[in-house]
C-alpha cells in the first residue's frame, strides 16, 4: 500500500508523539494548539473541491474539476504557469502556498444542498481541508457558504449567479468571483435596447425559485428603465421538462420579446420549445419576435444546439476573450485537455489562484487574515480586465460579457460570440441595493473556527 498524505491526520502524525503507547488525548478548542480550523502543520495544505459529479450538472462539475487540477498544478510550479504569469499580483512563487505543497480532495455536491454540505463537512472534518470551493447552483453555494462560515474556513464560490449569494445571504467567510443577476440585467439592457429598440413588450418565463426571482427582477428592472414594457411574468416549476403550455400563449399576449429566466436543463428545454413553436419567425407589433436568455453557459448552449443561434444573453467570461490572462488560461487548459475551458472552469481556476494569492499576501492561512487580504483587493490579468473584490459584500466587480449564439459555429465549443464587453462601471451597484437584500444584509464577522 502506498503512502498517502491526503488527510490532515496524516500531517498531524508527523508532529505526533512517536513511539508506542497511548498519546495524551488532545482537545481541539480555540484555545488549544490550533489557531484556526484545520491549520496546516505539515508540508502540505489541502483544498476541498466540491463540485456536482452526479446529476444534471455533472458535466459542468467535471469542467470545474479540470480547472481546479490545472490550478493546483500551476500553484505547485507545474505546467506553464497559466494565469500566474499574467496576474497583477506577483505573490505566488510556484512553490505551493506559503511554501506548502497544495493537495486537494474532491466531493460530490449532487446539486443538493444537503449532499453538498455533507460532502463539504467530510472534507473539513475528515480530510482537513482549509478552503472549500466549487458548486454549480446558488442553492448549494448559499448552503455551503453558511457551513464554511460556521466551521471557520474560507468558501470560494464556484458557479452561482443568484443575487442572494453576495446579497441577502452574504457571509464574511464567503467570496464570489462569478457575476450575478443584477449585473446580467444591467449589462444586457443597453445592448438589447440598441439591437431591438426601446419600444418592446417583454414576456418573462421564470424558474420558480430564488435564482429565477432575482434574475427576473434584475432583467425586468433594467429593461423597464430602458423603456420596455413587461407584459407578463409566469413562473414555471423547476421540475418542468416540457414548456409548451407556457410558450404557446406568448403570442396571444401581444408580447414581441420572450425572456427565459431559466438555467441548465430548464433553459435548454424552454429555448428548444420556443424555437420549435416558430416564435422567432413571427412578426408582432411590426417587429421580429425575439428571445433572450439572461444567463448563458456553454454547456447549455451545447444542449440547445442550433436553437441558440442569434440569441442574446450574458456570460461571466468566454474563451474567445483576447486579453493576456484569458489567452494564457485558454492555452494551458487547451493544451492539457484538448478543448477550450468553460466559464465555470475559468471562475473556479481564478478563485483558486485568488485564494492562494491572498494567503501569500496575508502570510497566513487563517481565514480572517485571508479574508482581509481579499477584501477590496484590486487585480488584473485574470480575464475580464481590472477587477475589484469588494469588501462590503465579497462580490467581484469586473466587466461583464454580452454574448450571442453564433450563426456559424466551427466546433462544438464555438457556440457563442461576444457582442459587447460591458464595462464594470455600468454593472456596479451599492452594497445595500434593494435587490441585494437592502440595508439589512450583513456579512457578519469573519470566523477562524476551531
Amino acid at each position: 500500500m502506498s503512502k498517502s498524505n491526503f488527510t490532515r491526520r496524516g500531517l498531524l502524525k508527523t508532529s505526533a508523539v512517536t513511539g508506542a503507547g497511548l498519546a495524551l488525548p488532545t482537545i481541539f478548542t480555540a484555545q488549544s494548539a490550533h489557531a484556526f480550523t484545520n491549520e496546516p502543520t505539515g508540508g502540505t495544505v489541502t483544498l476541498g473541491f466540491n463540485v456536482p459529479q452526479t446529476g444534471p450538472y455533472a458535466d459542468e462539475g467535471a469542467d470545474e474539476l479540470r480547472a481546479y487540477q490545472l490550478a493546483v498544478e500551476h500553484l505547485n510550479g507545474g505546467g506553464d504557469g497559466g494565469m500566474m504569469n499574467t496576474f497583477s499580483s506577483k505573490a505566488l512563487q510556484g512553490n505551493g502556498i506559503l511554501g506548502k505543497k497544495v493537495e486537494f480532495v474532491t466531493g460530490d455536491t449532487q446539486t443538493k444542498s444537503d449532499a453538498a454540505r455533507a460532502s463539504a463537512k467530510s472534507m473539513i472534518e475528515k480530510d482537513g481541508a482549509i478552503m472549500i470551493t466549487g458548486g454549480s447552483s446558488s442553492g448549494v453555494a448559499v448552503a455551503v457558504q453558511a457551513l464554511c462560515q460556521e466551521a471557520g474556513v474560507i468558501f470560494m464560490a464556484g458557479l452561482t449567479h443568484s443575487n442572494d449569494t453576495t446579497g441577502k445571504d452574504r457571509k464574511a467567510n464567503g467570496f464570489r468571483h462569478f457575476f450575478n443577476s443584477y449585473m446580467s440585467g444591467a449589462a444586457l439592457a443597453p445592448v438589447l435596447a440598441n439591437a431591438y429598440g426601446k419600444d418592446r413588450k417583454a414576456y418573462h418565463l421564470t424558474a420558480d425559485y430564488n435564482w429565477g426571482y432575482t434574475t427576473e427582477e434584475a432583467v425586468k428592472a433594467s429593461t423597464e428603465a430602458m423603456g420596455w414594457e413587461t407584459v407578463a411574468t409566469v413562473k414555471t416549476p423547476l421540475t418542468q421538462t416540457d414548456f409548451s403550455s407556457y410558450i404557446a400563449p406568448v403570442l396571444q399576449s401581444g408580447a414581441d420579446t420572450l425572456v427565459l429566466n431559466h438555467y441548465g436543463g430548464n433553459m435548454v428545454n424552454s429555448l428548444t420549445n420556443a424555437v420549435q413553436f416558430g416564435l422567432r419567425d413571427k412578426q408582432v407589433n411590426g417587429k421580429d419576435f425575439q428571445i433572450i436568455v439572461p444567463l448563458y453557459s456553454r454547456l447549455m448552449a451545447k444542449g440547445a444546439g442550433a436553437n441558440v443561434k442569434g440569441i442574446f444573453g450574458s456570460a461571466n467570461w468566454h474563451w474567445s476573450l483576447t486579453d493576456e490572462g484569458s489567452k494564457a488560461f485558454v492555452k494551458s487548459f487547451g493544451t492539457k485537455y484538448g478543448f477550450p475551458p468553460s466559464q465555470a472552469a475559468h471562475t473556479t481556476y481564478v478563485q483558486t489562484l485568488l485564494y492562494a494569492d491572498a494567503c501569500e499576501r496575508a502570510g497566513s492561512f487563517a481565514p480572517c487574515a485571508v479574508a482581509e487580504a481579499l477584501e477590496d483587493f484590486e487585480f488584473d490579468g485574470l480575464g475580464n480586465g481590472k477587477t475589484l473584490y469588494r469588501g462590503a459584500d465579497h462580490q467581484c466587480f469586473k466587466d461583464v460579457l454580452v454574448v450571442k449564439g453564433k450563426e456559424n459555429p466551427t466546433s462544438e465549443f464555438d457556440l457563442l460570440e461576444i457582442v459587447e464587453v460591458t464595462p464594470v462601471e455600468q454593472v456596479t451597484y451599492a452594497p445595500d441595493h434593494p435587490q441585494m437584500g437592502g440595508a439589512e444584509a450583513t456579512l457578519g464577522s469573519c470566523n477562524n473556527g476551531a
Partner: protein
C-alpha cells in the same frame, strides 16, 4: 431487562456497543495509510449514520409491520427540519426544544396525511403519500419561499436572535445543548490512529438508541402484533371487531414522528434545511435503506441506512488520483488498467455501484443484509438451515 426478552436485550446491547464505540469501529485504518480513505469515523458521517438509522427504523415500523409502503416519508423529515430550524431561529438555540418541535410538527402533519391516505391501500396508498410529499416539495421550493427559504433553504443568520439567547450583536447562533456546542469534539490520538468523539454524534446516538429501544418494544408489544395482523389479514381483523385504520394511522403517525425526530436531529447537527430533503428520491432512499437492510427486521433498516450513506459519502470522494496512489506499487501498465477498470464505479460513478448493489442484494438476498448476515453466521456455525427457521423467520421479526 428493561422489559425486553433476553435475545432482544442482547441485541440492544450489541447495538449500543456498536453505536457508542463507533468512533473506534469506523476508523479502523491508520491515518497515514492509503486505506484511510475508507475511514468513516468523522462526526458528520457518524451523525448521518444514526440519523438516517432513526429515519429507517421509523419507516420500518410502518412498512415492516403493517405492509403499507409510504412513498412520501421524506416529507415528514423535511417538515420536522423546518419546524426545528424555526424553533431555533425564534425561540431557543437549545436543541431539545427544536427536536421536540420537529417531532410534534411532523406528527401533526403525519396525522393529517395519514388520515387521508389510509383510506386506500396498496399502490393507491403509495401514490397518495407520494403525491403529498411531492406537493410539499414543490411548494416549499417555490411559492412558500418566504417560510421555507425556497431553493437556498434556511440557515441561522447573524440577524436571528432567538427569544432565549444571549447572542452578541452580529454573532451567528449555534445549536447547543445547555451551552454545549454540537460541534465540540474530543480527539484521541493513539499512534497513527486518531479517533473523534463528537458531542452532537453522541446526542444523536442516544436518540437512536432510545428510538431503537422503543422500536423493539413496539415490535414485541401487542400493538406491534396488531400491526402485523393488519399486514397478514385485514378481513379477519375487521371481523374480530378491530378497526384496522386507526391502528395503521397510529403506526403512520409514530413513523412520521420518527422521521420528524430524524429531521430535527439533522438540524441540530447541521443548522440548515433545504427543500430537496423532501424530494421523492429522498423518500425512495429510505425505502431502499429498509429493503436493503431487511424489511421487518429490527436491525436491518439501520444497516441499510449505514450502507447507503457510507457509499454516498466515502465512495463518491475517491477520485482518479487516489486510485493511482493506491496502485502506485504496481507496474505502470497494470496500474493504469486497474484504475481504468475501477474508475467507472467510484467517484462520480458511485450511483452505478449503488444500482448494482441493489440488484445483487434483491436477487441473491431477498431478506436484505440481515439475511446475508444470518447466512454467514449459519455457515460459520456449520449448521444447515433447519425447517424450524423458515416459518419462524417470518412469524417473529428476526433481530
Amino acid at each position: 431487562m428493561l422489559g425486553l426478552e433476553k435475545k432482544d436485550f442482547q441485541l440492544l446491547l450489541v447495538v449500543a456497543g456498536l453505536t457508542l464505540l463507533a468512533p473506534f469501529i469506523l476508523n479502523p485504518f491508520p491515518e497515514s495509510s492509503g486505506m484511510a480513505q475508507f475511514n468513516a469515523g468523522y462526526p458528520d458521517l457518524m451523525q448521518r449514520f444514526v440519523i438516517f438509522g432513526i429515519f429507517a427504523i421509523g419507516f420500518n415500523i410502518l412498512f415492516g409491520l403493517t405492509g403499507y409502503l409510504s412513498f412520501g416519508h421524506a416529507a415528514f423529515l423535511g417538515i420536522g427540519s423546518y419546524g426545528a430550524i424555526w424553533m431555533m431561529k425564534l425561540i431557543s438555540l437549545n436543541v431539545i426544544p427544536a427536536i421536540f418541535m420537529a417531532i410534534i410538527v411532523a406528527g401533526i402533519f403525519a396525522l393529517a396525511v395519514g388520515f387521508i391516505t389510509l383510506r386506500r391501500s396498496g399502490i393507491y396508498f403509495s401514490i397518495l403519500t407520494l403525491a403529498f410529499a411531492q406537493m410539499s416539495y414543490a411548494l416549499a421550493y417555490s411559492v412558500l419561499t418566504p417560510i421555507t427559504g425556497g431553493e437556498t433553504g434556511l440557515q441561522i443568520k447573524s440577524s436571528d436572535s432567538p427569544l432565549f439567547s444571549n447572542l452578541e450583536e452580529g454573532e451567528i447562533g449555534r445549536a447547543n445543548l445547555f451551552g454545549m456546542d454540537m460541534r465540540a469534539s474530543f480527539e484521541l490520538n493513539i499512534g497513527d490512529w486518531l479517533f473523534t468523539f463528537n458531542a452532537g454524534y453522541y446526542i444523536a446516538a442516544i436518540a437512536m438508541l432510545a428510538s431503537f429501544y422503543l422500536a423493539i418494544r413496539i415490535f414485541r408489544s401487542p400493538f406491534g402484533m396488531m400491526l402485523r395482523a393488519i399486514k397478514s389479514n385485514q378481513t379477519r381483523m375487521s371481523y374480530t371487531g378491530l378497526n384496522p385504520r386507526p391502528h395503521t394511522l397510529a403506526a403512520f403517525v409514530i413513523s412520521g414522528m420518527y422521521a420528524g425526530l430524524a429531521g430535527g436531529l439533522m438540524v441540530a447537527m447541521d443548522t440548515q434545511v433545504g427543500p430537496e430533503r423532501m424530494f421523492w428520491t429522498a423518500s425512495g432512499e429510505v425505502v431502499l435503506m429498509t429493503i436493503l437492510g431487511g424489511v421487518g427486521t429490527l436491525i436491518g433498516p439501520v444497516l441499510g441506512a449505514g450502507a447507503i450513506k457510507y457509499m454516498e459519502n466515502i465512495l463518491s470522494k475517491i477520485n482518479k488520483d487516489v486510485l493511482h496512489e493506491w496502485f502506485a506499487f504496481l507496474p505502470d501498465g497494470l496500474e493504469d488498467l486497474l484504475v481504468t477498470i475501477i474508475y467507472p464505479f467510484i467517484g462520480k460513478g458511485w450511483h452505478l455501484t449503488l444500482g448494482i448493489l441493489f440488484m445483487l442484494v434483491v436477487i441473491y438476498l431477498p431478506g436484505g443484509l440481515v439475511e446475508g448476515g444470518q447466512r454467514i453466521a449459519r455457515a460459520l456455525r456449520g449448521k444447515k438451515a433447519n425447517d424450524e427457521d423458515g416459518p419462524k423467520a417470518s412469524t417473529e421479526p428476526a433481530e
